[in-house]
């Protein structure tokens, strides 16, 4: 069996084979021998290369949530489309989206405004924190899809720019 998961924009390939009493797992060409595998209420325990682990996990739709000693991992299936992030622009996009659901408190620009990289295009508030959505590019405001005071979902276009 082979599975692929995404974690923080990186894909990991895991190969799993049953060999007698144990499982052979290969991650990035590194081999692990897994034995004493038991699964119980919200947890999995197993022995890998001699060390014993007891791990909490949960699943929702395609997502796997795993906690290992105060560290957290959320794995998504490989094919899942990469989401655009609005705030810290890792990708240069002419569409500004909110990375979280919340209340659109302010749109300090209007259609036709010329904006420079870093200009605040919208402010979204959730859990009492205001998040400023800044443009990663220079451009002209082409479209504003929501009014101040409206509720916005995560990853929906709020302001669109023309370059």
């Amino acid at each position: 069996m082979e599975i692929k998961v995404n974690f923080l924009n990186k894909t990991y390939k895991i190969i799993l084979e049953k060999e007698g009493d144990f499982y052979k797992i290969i991650i990035n060409e590194k081999k692990y021998e897994v034995s004493d595998f038991t699964i119980c209420a919200g947890g999995i325990s197993f022995r890998v290369n001699g060390n014993f682990f007891s791990i909490n996990y949960a699943e929702d739709k395609d997502k796997k949530f795993i906690a290992v000693d105060g560290e957290y991992y959320v794995f998504e299936p490989e094919k899942m489309e990469k989401k655009k992030t609005g705030t810290v622009a890792t990708e240069k996009s002419n569409i500004v989206v909110s990375p979280m659901p919340g209340l659109l408190v302010k749109v300090p620009v209007k259609i036709g405004d010329k904006v420079q990289t870093g200009t605040t295009l919208a402010i979204v508030e959730a859990m009492k924190m205001q998040n400023e959505l800044r443009t990663p590019i220079d451009g002209v405001v082409k479209k504003i899809n929501y009014k101040e005071g409206e509720q916005v979902d995560a990853f929906v276009p709020i302001v669109e720019l023309e370059t």
Binding site: M1, I3, V5, F7, L8, Y12, I14, L16, Y23, I25, I27, K30, Y32, V34, F37, I39, C40, A41, G42, I44, F46, V48, F53, I55, N56, Y57, A58, E59, D60, K64, F65, I66, A67, V68, D69, G70, E71, Y72, Y73, V74, F75, T87, V88, P99, M100, P101, G102, V105, K106, E125, A126, M127, K128, M129, Q130, N131
Partner: protein, 498 residues
């Protein structure tokens, strides 16, 4: 003693108050917005009243509806918790006018200490050192610019009715100051319903040290020693401890006396906290009075053995304080870590949503004040605080070790939380050495980044998880069972009017 009180709050603090009431034989009324219909705290109350829509202004900040609920349910007193209406003199006054006891200071004392500017003047009068800054809230931008020029940049803009870090912004020049004032006013309006702001000089690398004070209606006053709350992110405390690693008994006595004098001068009755900033030469300055039960009150309870919430209720009912200053001492050490629904790997973005699994740590010296359960949807409308982990042990280093283990065993799956971040802070050598100040996080950011050291163990878990789909569904069934349990107890009766 009261027979029934209304808790005008939500989340873990509503549960904390409800627990104290149950132990004292007092019935409780919980209030909720439509977003909190399924929240855990309502399960701890004897009655529940719906007070409106999710937006705080139409529910938890809606004074007429809350007063109306209090009258209809026949309570004698209201406990406001922290945040929302806890420090709102208009609310305290509305309670007084409707013959309901507000479990907190009088409207008059609240107005005085709640106005950060007026309280600075009071502190100055009794000879407490204060940070240079405005003695009135500013209206015109030029007033702010003039004051900034006088005290020198950087300055900090604060909401006059503020607290909990909301509405605070630092400015390094005139341009930033103008922007900060606008931001602060907007946030203050939304969080406290009042947009007054003021500025003061911003101290570099100070420690935040506060004193818990109790004062009764008969003028008796004691302090319950200090809490050091220097670990803050965006002016919001996230880790607190007591005793402070730098306080000598001499300094403790001096600061405690100052705190008691300020509380007495303000004719303040009930539990209150006097906050100080301390510079690197151990000079302390009065910051403000927090006129409420603090989020971090449990660490004081752990080392002094005094139940602050019960004392609040006793004082409000007119009882005499039976604790003398000489009876108060600190035993061992306590640390609190606040668990927030935010993503430490992605700019601390709020992370509302469904909790799939919760496992709280247990063991000697471990206390969890929590408002969550498996299967609950964390609403996006309120503060991201989910719960508080409070750990006690004999010494500071023992407590640090116990806190790290407790964080390892605190599992919340389905939403992002700051648990890994809290753990990384406590694991730094600087934290162990007690080298704390309010810019600790910014200064140590490079050692606080996620390491993801256990990625391969997590990947193996993911593979085994895929292998055992069938057994996984059994687990899901277990989770859904546990999420129905709290519901079996609800709704002895509920009324809805708004």
């Amino acid at each position: 003693m009261f027979k029934k009180i209304l808790i005008a709050n939500r989340g873990e603090i509503a549960i904390r108050v409800a627990r104290a009431c149950k132990e004292m034989g007092i019935k409780t009324v919980g209030v909720y917005s439509t977003a909190d219909k399924e929240s855990l705290y309502l399960r701890y109350c004897d009655e529940a009243v719906c007070i409106g829509d999710p937006a705080p202004l139409s529910s938890y900040l809606n004074i007429p509806v809350i007063i109306d609920s209090a009258k209809k349910t026949g309570v004698e007193a209201v406990h406001p918790g922290y945040g929302f209406l806890a420090e709102n003199p208009t609310f305290a006054k509305a309670c007084e006018e409707n013959s309901i006891i507000f479990i907190g200071p009088s409207a008059k004392a609240l107005a005085l200490v709640g106005d950060k500017v007026a309280s600075r003047i009071t502190a100055k009068k009794i000879g407490a050192p204060i940070i240079p800054g405005m003695e009135i809230s500013g209206r015109e931008i030029k007033d702010f610019l003039n004051m900034a020029k006088q005290v020198g940049y950087p300055v900090i803009v604060k909401a006059a009715l503020g607290g909990g870090g909301k509405g605070m912004h630092i400015a390094k020049d005139d341009k930033e100051l103008k922007e900060s004032i606008e931001m602060s006013r907007r946030e203050a309006k939304s969080a406290f319903g009042d947009e007054s702001v003021y500025i003061e000089k911003y101290l570099e690398k100070p420690r935040h040290i506060e004193f818990q004070v109790l004062r009764d209606k008969h003028g008796n006053v004691v302090h319950l020693c200090e809490r050091e709350c220097s670990i803050q992110r965006r002016h919001q405390k996230i880790i607190e401890e007591t005793p402070s690693p730098v306080l000598t008994s001499q300094l403790r006595e001096k600061m405690g006396d100052t705190a008691k004098k300020i509380i007495t001068a303000a004719e303040y009755v009930n539990a209150g906290t006097v906050e100080f900033l301390m510079d690197q030469n151990k000079n302390f300055y009065f910051l403000e009075v927090n006129a409420r039960v603090q989020v971090e009150h449990p660490i004081t309870e752990m080392v002094t053995g005094i139940d602050i919430v019960k004392r609040q209720i006793l004082i409000a009912s007119g009882e005499k304080l039976d604790i003398k200053q000489g009876d108060v001492f600190q035993r061992g050490h306590a640390i609190e870590a606040r668990i927030y629904a935010e993503d430490p790997d992605n700019n601390f973005l709020p992370s509302p949503g469904k909790i799939l699994f919760v496992q709280e740590p247990q063991g000697p010296g471990i206390r969890v004040d929590s408002g969550i359960y498996s299967g609950w949807n964390v609403p996006a409308h309120y503060d991201p605080i989910l719960s508080k982990l409070i750990v006690w042990s004999e010494s500071r280093l023992d407590t640090i070790a116990r806190t790290i283990q407790a964080l390892n065993n605190y599992v919340i799956l389905g939403i992002k939380t700051n648990i890994p971040f809290l753990k990384r802070i406590i694991e730094t050598p600087q934290f162990s050495k007690g080298e704390l100040h309010t810019h600790f996080i910014d200064e140590n950011l490079s050692s606080l980044l996620p390491k993801h050291e256990n990625i391969n163990v997590a990947l193996i878990t993911a593979a085994l998880q895929s292998l055992n789909k069938k057994q996984v569904s059994i687990t899901e069934e277990r989770i859904s069972l546990s999420e129905t349990n709290p519901w079996l107890e609800i709704g002895k009766w509920e009324i809805c009017f708004h």
